[in-house]
Symmetry: C2
């Protein structure tokens, strides 16, 4: 299968080509002139400066981990794998951010000169570049490693290093980006809107560039690395489970070990093709309503993928039970996304907004209660996926269902990253004074982006949960492979203590990241107040704010505060694994998994419902802007910001980092 | 051992005698006259009416469960056990409430006529009656059942029914009481303090009697049943684990099966004696500062208990490793209590209060972050208890450590129930216009009560966690006893899906109970507003409010809304156990345990820190009452109310109900 083994890498290159083509298309649109161009340049530069400084810290961190891997018994192959994983993840984030900060201004200009259809195309292409890059980089990196190490079950484990590299970078990007974006957002809003009484995205506000940089840093790069590591994690875990599979199971699934190890890469490759077709569908439907266009693209590519997977598995002669698992995962992802949409834009929004009539306390209670309630159906869905897919094809089934959910990541990520591009376009239109009509177009695109972002968040949680589950299964199988009597019984005190330990981390990391946003926002508030006070003529519009300084402060604050959570996540499995043994570590992963998923859903959906309740009131309902109800729902939104954009998303990566680090060190623990 | 088997029952009777003696002592103090007596009578009657109506619903529920037990294969012995458990739990709650509503007014009168020392004595005696009743009823009921069924390992399992009865009553009391107390509190405060601008506990407020009734219903009866079921649960689980213990383990612990089965009852009996001595110590030190007196009593009885346990275990010839487990549990309980005290009265309070300067949103974030952070040390302590005690004496060690933590429950519960008595005394003093000096004394007692209540809450969570853990272990052992190949491996898809399922319930029940408080408070608000509007002269003080109507509304609202969470908790293990099997049920208990403990700690401590941050500002700090900071911290307190007094405490019982129901149905699942 020497030639077919090149297929994933070939698809990776092909996907990157597609991304480059889209980039050229985006660049064809005009980038604005004078003031508009200058604002766009400031956002672009701010984002790039943040990335560069972040990557410096990441570089140091990776060097330390690399050193530790090399002096351990894991060997240079794992070290190489780690490096490639970290590098591809970082590169995908960089490319995505670079192009998103080119697409934002072009979306604004297109909205002003050509109308909604062109604006949608540019914004969506901007997001699609991120989507295609994520999928392609994953295929390229994993395809390469599979080619040199993966064919042989004995060396397949070195690929785990790739996941660890990708996850480490993802964790720092997500946490750092999350802190940056929310500190800038909260800081700019509190001083600008509330204290100085100027509108959102007003160019006089020194924090407003930082706020727009934050959208890219947090919502594009952060989300991209999040999805990237789930995507790669699920593929890696599936390979790992296949490589330790017993002969009887192989017979049951009517497949060879090689076939099952290679299957996730093939599925992902075809998934990329389906995503590209989906992107094409969106482009073709761009003259219809944006909502219809985006939906046609996603559903189209999912349905197509399911059929192609069926054909593929049938042609390979593998039992169709495996396809059943893929199907369950793909459908499950859609269900979780839709439930998220309901909770953050359906009846619950009206309920939370209504609670604003009795003040901020009832808004808080109602929103928290919606968030907690919203876990039920997604978690039941996850249970369903676990039970059905494992019933069809064992633990391998659980892992391949995660691949099924994530295979069309190209388009899912595209639709998700489209949101912040449209949001930024709105910011640029406002700051550049591009007029009401332009702003209306960008607003409508932005609103749709919020809905797709909510679906994307739900999907990301589901995908992260399944990927982590697959990696944890692979960890357990790896240990069992080397140590026949290994078992993770809940009534074993070590496992039990491990489960409690694991539960601590999601709560602790949430607390730390929420605090970090508060502190970083405080730094920001002080600086913006200082500029309003010290720069003469700023509020009158005759002087320019020092926006760079604000970007710098948000950058420094975010980078400083991302280190502790990152180190806790990466090193806790190592400490527990070596001190208390693999039983406690296995228990810890189980406890952390459950709590991460539940907290992630609660925080994402509480944050989402608060955000939309505020928007509902701001549209003029229940008293509209400036009313007491409005003030109450603004409090909810402010609490929701770190919930949904910092702490909540950190949960996805936390559990995956803990799981993949455990999988990497597994051979050392037996 | 026929005579010694009577010992627990004898101690139970002795303890009840002690409680009766204390009741007589309390009754010696004058009960006030005229207006004072009338207010006290209203509170007393309101509480009794609530209890009677609650017990009617409980009666129906118990009849249904009884019927189900009888038609199942569990048999009449388990049914009898269930009945006794439910009856003793209900009776303990009734006695405690009855006497607490006698002690409250006598505390107020003693404060006004005799000073702080007498007031402390009366309030503390009021709490002690509850404490002694809880411990005595447990010993009496369990001692009786042990006498007739427990001596034989074959019939020992019928005792589990007792735990199920106790837990079911506890769940309804805790949830119903929690909804009652907070809806009355929030309703009375919102309309009275904020809308009408009259002080707290003002007699013109129609909701104020309901508010004071709520303190008894929620904080005395609810807390009592909570502790009662943990107390009995830990004893039952220890008996169960001993009854299924392998011969080799018995040899290692140098004990006979009879000895190990009887040990928890003996320890609890001596614990009751130590509690009574502790109560005596408090009485003797009442002329010192109240804080010193209460602390001397608790620490004195704990230390005494640890020594008596050492002697006892040495005399019985059992390995001292078992004593080590008891010691670890007792010390662990103290650590968890002290950590709770730190988080709800130390530096975090200042931090949350300070966050009020930037508005309610930052108060929310800071409080939630404190709550989430506060899980770390208590959960690490639980991990430590699990690892050390099981290392010393296996799973039996974990269970007996829970008994060690709970043995001196008489005094712990006394100190905890003292708080609401003092709180009520303050309310009566205010409503009855007993003057500033009296109010100052009751305030100082109340403030101390808040601290002891915080410690008590931490202790209750730790105890509930360990008790549930012990019951879950007993469940697993029971299944394994009948089905040799039973195992609960985390990587078994059924177990895994069960763990996810289990995680849903704490979040769902929290959401439901938080909503319930909001809705019930809304009913209350409407009624109080109506009375202010429709009763002429009410605000001027020339007409009487219809307080009974408010009590009735809170009662109806609470009773209606306690049913769903109760039914979910009791029947979910049955449904999962029979539909998905014991593996999924075991996983579900594991997942629910972790999440219940973490949420309970988070909500209790976030609620506590918000409460005290508000009090800190109200003492004149950071702008004091009426400032913007004050308004911000009031929002935190309002959100914290259902957190710490409704949803949070419900977690303790939720996990215990799920665990004990599983243990009861275990024989049917194999």
């Amino acid at each position: 299968m020497s030639l077919s083994a090149l297929f994933p890498m070939f698809l990776g290159v092909f996907g990157l080509g597609g991304a480059f083509y889209l980039y050229k298309e985006v660049k064809k649109y005009p980038g604005g002139e004078d003031k508009i161009a200058r604002i766009a340049e400031q956002i672009h530069l701010g984002a790039m400066v943040f990335m560069r400084r972040e990557y410096k810290i990441l570089g140091i961190f990776c060097a330390v981990v690399l050193f530790l891997i090399l002096i351990s018994d894991l060997g240079w192959k794992t070290a190489l794998s780690f490096l490639i994983g970290a590098f591809t993840s970082a590169l995908a984030g960089y490319i995505g951010m670079y192009t998103a900060t080119q697409a934002n201004v072009r979306t604004a200009v297109a909205a002003s000169t050509e109308g909604v259809s062109s604006a949608l195309t540019v914004a969506f292409f901007g997001g699609s570049i991120m989507g295609l890059t994520v999928a392609s980089m994953g295929l390229l990196g994993l395809g390469f490693l599979y080619l040199i190490f993966g064919g042989n079950p004995e060396t397949a484990h070195v690929i785990h290093g790739f996941g660890m590299g990708a996850s480490s970078v993802a964790l720092f990007s997500r946490v750092g980006g999350g802190i940056f974006t929310k500190s800038a957002d909260v800081g700019a809003d509190l001083v600008g809107k509330i204290e100085a009484g100027i509108p959102e995205d007003d160019p006089r506000n020194p924090g407003v560039i930082a706020d727009n940089v934050g959208d890219n840093v947090g919502d594009v790069a952060g989300m991209g690395s999040d999805i990237f590591e789930s995507y790669c994690g699920s593929i890696i875990a599936t390979i790992a489970l296949a490589s330790t599979m017993a002969a009887t199971t192989l017979t049951q699934l009517n497949a060879s070990q090689d076939q099952l190890m290679f299957l996730p890469l093939v599925l992902a490759s075809f998934g990329l093709i389906c995503s590209m077709i989906g992107i094409f569908i969106v482009k073709q439907s761009a003259n219809k309503s944006p909502e219809v266009a985006l939906r046609a693209g996603t559903i189209g590519s999912s349905v197509l993928f399911i059929f192609i997977a069926l054909l593929l598995i049938a042609v390979m002669g593998i039992s169709l039970k495996v396809w059943g698992s893929v199907l369950v995962g793909a459908v499950g992802g859609i269900i979780i996304g839709l439930v998220t949409e309901y909770y953050t834009s359906g009846a619950p929004v009206l309920k939370v907004a209504k609670a604003g009539e009795t003040g901020p306390a009832t808004v808080m209670i109602a929103g928290l209660s919606v968030g907690m309630q919203s876990v039920v159906i997604p978690v039941l869905t996850i249970c369903g996926i676990i039970l059905i897919s494992s019933n069809l094809s064992g633990l391998y089934g659980v892992a391949i269902s995660a691949v099924g959910m994530l295979a069309t990541v190209g388009i899912t990520m595209a639709i998700d990253a489209y949101g912040p591009v449209a949001d930024n376009a709105g910011g640029i239109a406002e700051m550049g004074g591009m007029g009401k009509e332009t702003r209306e177009i960008t607003d409508s695109l932005d609103e749709l982006g919020n809905t797709t972002a909510a679906i994307g968040k739900g999907f990301a949680i589901g995908a992260a949960a399944l990927a982590a589950l697959a990696i944890i299964s692979a960890f357990i199988e790896t240990i069992s492979h080397h140590q026949q009597d290994f078992s993770l019984q809940i009534n074993d005190p070590l496992v039990l203590a491990g489960m409690f330990l694991g539960g601590i981390f999601p709560f602790l990391i949430s607390a730390i990241t929420m605090n970090a946003v508060g502190e970083a926002a405080f730094d920001m508030i002080k600086e913006i107040r200082r500029q309003f006070r010290d720069i003469p003529g700023l509020l009158e519009g005759t002087a320019e704010p020092d926006t760079e300084r604000c970007v710098d402060i948000a950058t420094t604050a975010a980078l400083k505060r991302m280190v502790l959570p990152g180190i806790l996540a990466v090193f806790s499995p190592v400490v527990v694994g070596f001190l208390l043994g693999p039983e406690a570590l296995g228990g810890m992963l189980g406890g952390a998994l459950i709590c991460c998923v539940l907290l992630a859903l609660t925080m994402a959906n509480a944050g989402g419902v608060w955000d939309n309740a505020k928007k509902h009131v701001e549209k003029g309902n229940l008293g509209g802007k400036g009313s007491e109800t409005h003030k109450a729902v603004v409090v909810g939104d402010t609490v929701g910001d770190p919930f949904k954009d910092t702490s909540g998303p950190a949960m996805n990566i936390l559990i995956n980092v803990m799981a993949i680090v455990s999988l990497v060190i597994a051979p050392l623990l037996v």
